[in-house]
Amino acid sequence: MTLSDWLASRWIVVHEASPAEIADLFALVDRDLNDAAVPRLSADWRLGITYNAALQLAILALAAAGFRPARERAHERAILSLRETAGTAEAIVNLLDSVRRKRNQNNYERAGTTSTAEAKELYEIVTVLRGQVVKWMKKNHKALIPRGLA
């Protein structure tokens, strides 16, 4: 499915992103990736923060493409949209979608289900994802990229 199909299905709505909005979203991503690297935090929490960074990357890529998720199942659809925006591999999108549910479990149901190894693995994946989204932005939406973005 393309984003046009998503729009027709009302999974996303049209949204005009500004450079300031994209800069704010990148700042959220970088704050979360910095915080997720703090070793004294629990693995559950580190995974949750890293997932949030991935979610913000998905939302900003979707915003750069001219959309935002509709209210229903917004997080799920934002994550899945990475395939259509930044061209993220299906295996990574599936992993992030599984982590979305794991993070819900960690936050609201049960502590301790995340291993340090899982938190570390996700951190590495989302760090690479950030680089991919930046590269995609530079190629496709250069005018929206914050100044000095690494």
């Binding site: 599936n94 599984s98 549910r101 289900t113 190894a117 899982e118």
Partner: protein, 203 residues
């Protein structure tokens, strides 16, 4: 209002029968020695023997002997075999579905032990219950998620994996992580390894 899949399972099968049918119908090409069925089903031997007797009598399970050894297998020629297999998979077949999806990772040694815990292991699941999965070994989330998603598609249930390297599992168990203590002491269904392996890995 339609009957929930879990209620169908509860109405049709008791816990032991569900477990025996889940094992045999989930692996219809294999035959199992009685001792292995006891071990995998983790029920009393008397109850398992009784259920096997009923299932053989009903023509749903085959009993074969070789010398003094007796084996049991699903009877794929039974009139209701396909339908029963589908019902088992949708209602109680989580362990068998996960076992087949995780098999390559078990064979490669990346998964040393895997088990289902929580409501499905306790037999108290509802239609919306997830399958709670603990995996021990060198496998990563990247390795596990494709198998988990394939299992989800077959089961119609979400699967929540927790993937622990053995060293971290042991350390956090000894450190008193309540979640792991509850999993170890609570109801569980083994996908790879067994209770003895778990005890050994926890030491």
């Amino acid at each position: 209002m339609g009957t929930l899949p879990s209620e169908v399972g509860d109405i049709l099968f008791g816990r032991t029968r569900r477990a025996v049918l889940g094992l045999l119908l989930g692996r219809p090409d294999e035959r199992f020695h009685m001792r292995e069925i006891f071990r995998r089903v983790a029920s009393g031997s008397g109850a398992v023997q009784r259920e096997l007797g009923h299932l053989v009598e009903a023509g749903l399970v085959r009993r074969t002997s070789e010398g003094r050894q007796v084996y049991f297998s699903a009877n794929a020629d039974a009139v209701v075999f396909r339908e029963l297999q589908a019902i088992m998979e949708k209602t109680t077949g989580a362990t068998e579905v996960l076992r087949s999806e995780l098999a390559p990772l078990v064979s490669s040694g990346q998964v040393v032990l895997a088990l289902v815990y929580g409501s499905i292991a306790a037999g108290s699941q509802t239609a919306s219950s997830d399958v709670d999965l603990l995996v021990l070994g060198d496998a990563t989330l990247t390795d596990i998620v494709p198998a988990v998603r394939a299992a989800e598609a077959r089961l119609g249930r979400e699967v929540n994996p927790s993937v622990y390297p053995i060293g971290e599992f042991r350390k956090r168990l000894k450190g008193g992580t309540a979640f792991l203590s509850r999993v170890v002491s609570g109801p569980k269904l083994f996908i790879a390894g067994d209770e003895h392996d778990l005890e050994r890995l926890a030491r």
